[in-house]
């Protein structure tokens, strides 16, 4: 009886989890499978949606034909993306040159700042760290206006630096990494000092190698966060030429739905690869940063 109850509970939980997984995966699967459809097949599936939207009519769900398996598999959307419509690749490159510096700078700045917060404690440093935590709790939109004003003041508005600079000094990474670094026993630093390490050597040879999983998880999270950004470029980058693909994708029109599917598929590849490669580190990094004793 008890065993049957246990099995039933397990089956129920699995079913609920499967439903959640399917609902989360459906858009991704739909995007990938539809990117291999012909333009005419896509038009027949989704054409009415865009027509209705343009005419200001009510959205009719019956008009949408959600198809996962293409009638005929084609790479024509990808060929168009890579050869006929280079603006998509240009926007992809825009995303790369915005996000890669942010990730590198943020990880670098966070590592140095976290080292300072974890190595030397004191009232002033702890207060600054407290402010970091407060800042971290605020949604991005709260600081958007000050960011805009500061960018304007610095004369970097409408340049990539308006996004890269605030991105480099984000508090979340510092918080996560500080918590991680505070786990490293002081005796290791003392042993390193007696072994002859300078402060820089302690940082690079003792701290950083031990924070590899945290650094990796931060890099993944930051990359995904900024790869999908919309608000910052919309407000801080007026020049459409510099807009990343995440913004450009929202400007698709009815004739390019198939292309949008292909571009979206290409766009999710870096995030997916990064996640798959560093999944282990990501889990370890977040778990260890979270279960830290103060």
């Amino acid at each position: 009886m008890k065993r049957a109850k246990h099995l039933f509970r397990r089956a129920f939980m699995t079913l609920v989890a499967a439903l959640f997984a399917i609902s989360f995966l459906m858009p991704t699967v739909l995007t990938i499978s539809n990117s291999f459809m012909t333009q005419s097949e896509i038009n027949s599936n989704y054409g009415s949606v865009f027509t209705a939207a343009k005419d200001g009519k009510t959205y009719i769900s019956e008009a949408v034909n959600l198809k996962f398996i293409p009638d005929k598999v084609t790479f024509s959307q990808y060929i168009t993306t890579f050869i006929k419509s280079p603006e998509y690749l240009l926007k992809f490159w825009n995303s790369v040159i915005l996000v890669v510096p942010i990730v590198l700078l943020q990880v670098g700045v966070a590592a140095v700042a976290a080292y300072g917060f974890s190595r030397w404690r004191g009232k002033v440093r702890d207060s600054i760290f407290f402010f970091y935590v407060i800042l971290m709790l605020m949604p991005y939109q709260v600081t958007l206006v000050p960011n805009y004003l500061v960018s304007d003041f610095l004369g970097i508005l409408n340049t990539r630096w308006a996004i890269i600079f605030p991105g480099a000094f984000a508090p979340f990474s510092v918080f996560l990494l500080t918590k991680f670094m505070r786990r490293i026993p002081v005796s290791q630093i003392e042993a390193a000092k007696l072994d002859g390490s300078s402060e820089w050597q302690i940082f690079t040879r003792i701290y950083l190698p031990q924070c590899r999983s945290a650094l990796y998880s931060i890099a993944i999270l930051v990359f995904i966060d900024y790869w999908n950004m919309v608000e910052q470029p919309l407000i801080l980058l007026k020049d459409a030429e510099m807009q990343p693909l995440s913004v450009y994708l929202s400007t698709i029109n009815s004739g390019e739905i198939g292309l949008a599917f292909a571009v979206a598929t290409i766009y999710m590849i870096p995030s997916l690869l990064l996640f798959l490669h560093g999944e282990e580190y990501l889990v370890e990094g977040i778990a260890q940063s979270g279960s830290v004793k103060g």
Binding site: P185, E190, A191, K193, G196
Partner: protein, 425 residues
Amino acid sequence: MAGVRFENVSKVFDKSVVAVDSFNLEIRDKEFVVFVGPSGCGKSTTLRMIAGLEAPTTGNIYIGDRLVNDITPKDRDIAMVFQNYALYPHMTVYENIAYGLRLRKYPKSVIDQKVKEAAQSLAITELLKRKPKALSGGQRQRVAIGRAIVREPQVFLMDEPLSNLDAKLRNQMRAEILTLRRKLDTTFVYVTHDQTEAMTLGDRIVIMKDGFIQQVGTPQEVFAHPANQFVGGFIGTPQMNFFQGELRKENGRFFVMLGEYPVEISEEKQERLFSCDVQPQAVVLGVRPEHITLENEGIPAVRGVMEMMGSSIHLHMQALGQDVVVVVSGMDDSGHFVDVASEGEQAMLRLHGNAIHLFSAETGENLEFSAKKETFSHEQVAESVLSQETVTPSVPDEPDEKAADETPPAPPTEKKGFHLLRKKK
């Protein structure tokens, strides 16, 4: 090789917490000195000051002839073994041991040779490619020692290196440290809160409490001649028994009254008390459990619980309104276990006059050394310790007839068998 010298060193944390106060000590070249004391006594702080991990608030520290107050840890030519090993978890055992040498830019071949030699001497050669998390506690401690010895430092510092090991491994490592010391033949400063480690390892022991040195001496000295009540209680297992008493002087002889029971004092101690010009006063009498015997006459006691230790038995006796621990042999001469009588039986305790210690009830100082701080040669101490084993009757053979009435009743002088101990049938 070099000694270490402390000149009036103090360490104050946060402008109010005095960790070490007026510390003066000379550690000789190639000497093994153990700092021992309870938690918070300042022993680790003192060690860390030698290492340069803490700066003294006042005073000077010398390593050899060099004043090292302002010299960074890496330039002090010292190595340290930490309580939690402090191995770098991302490096292999080889890399851990080689790290200090690499930073000092030794040639690769020299590093390789030194690491392998150290690994061989510590029997960890097969572990060189492993990471610390794949090692047991004892192996990690060996690696930590290996990391220190490859540097061939002038002074070797050890901060409670055996505390994280289980009892069996601790005994084994203790012996290995002694062997290592013989091999390295350098100056060792060792910190522990375990008095057994201190007694077995140290050439000299520095007993500390509340930031002050309580006594410095060889293990024999501190055991046989504790400078004060704290040292008496701290050194020795089981702990020394203490009794509140009254030191009296009659007919030119000292004796102690414990309640209504007199305890005689040996000639040797009489002389010391006289030479220190000690006056009758309230005292705390200390006597080690090994120096109390169960006799037919003496201080009445009732047997409480017992702890069987194998070759010996720790008996808890109720006497003079307190718990008194007495160590008796657990085996007779023929190797049979003795049977100890059941709880609640009566017995008489005899405190041996040559092995008692008299501490001032007011200051806790040992009255035998209170006026002039005596130092003992190793031979004297050894003699004194040995004499406690075969203690002589403490009552004068021919008491002065005139003073017979005033002389305290003599404790029994012969051992007529321990009536609490019966041969097991």
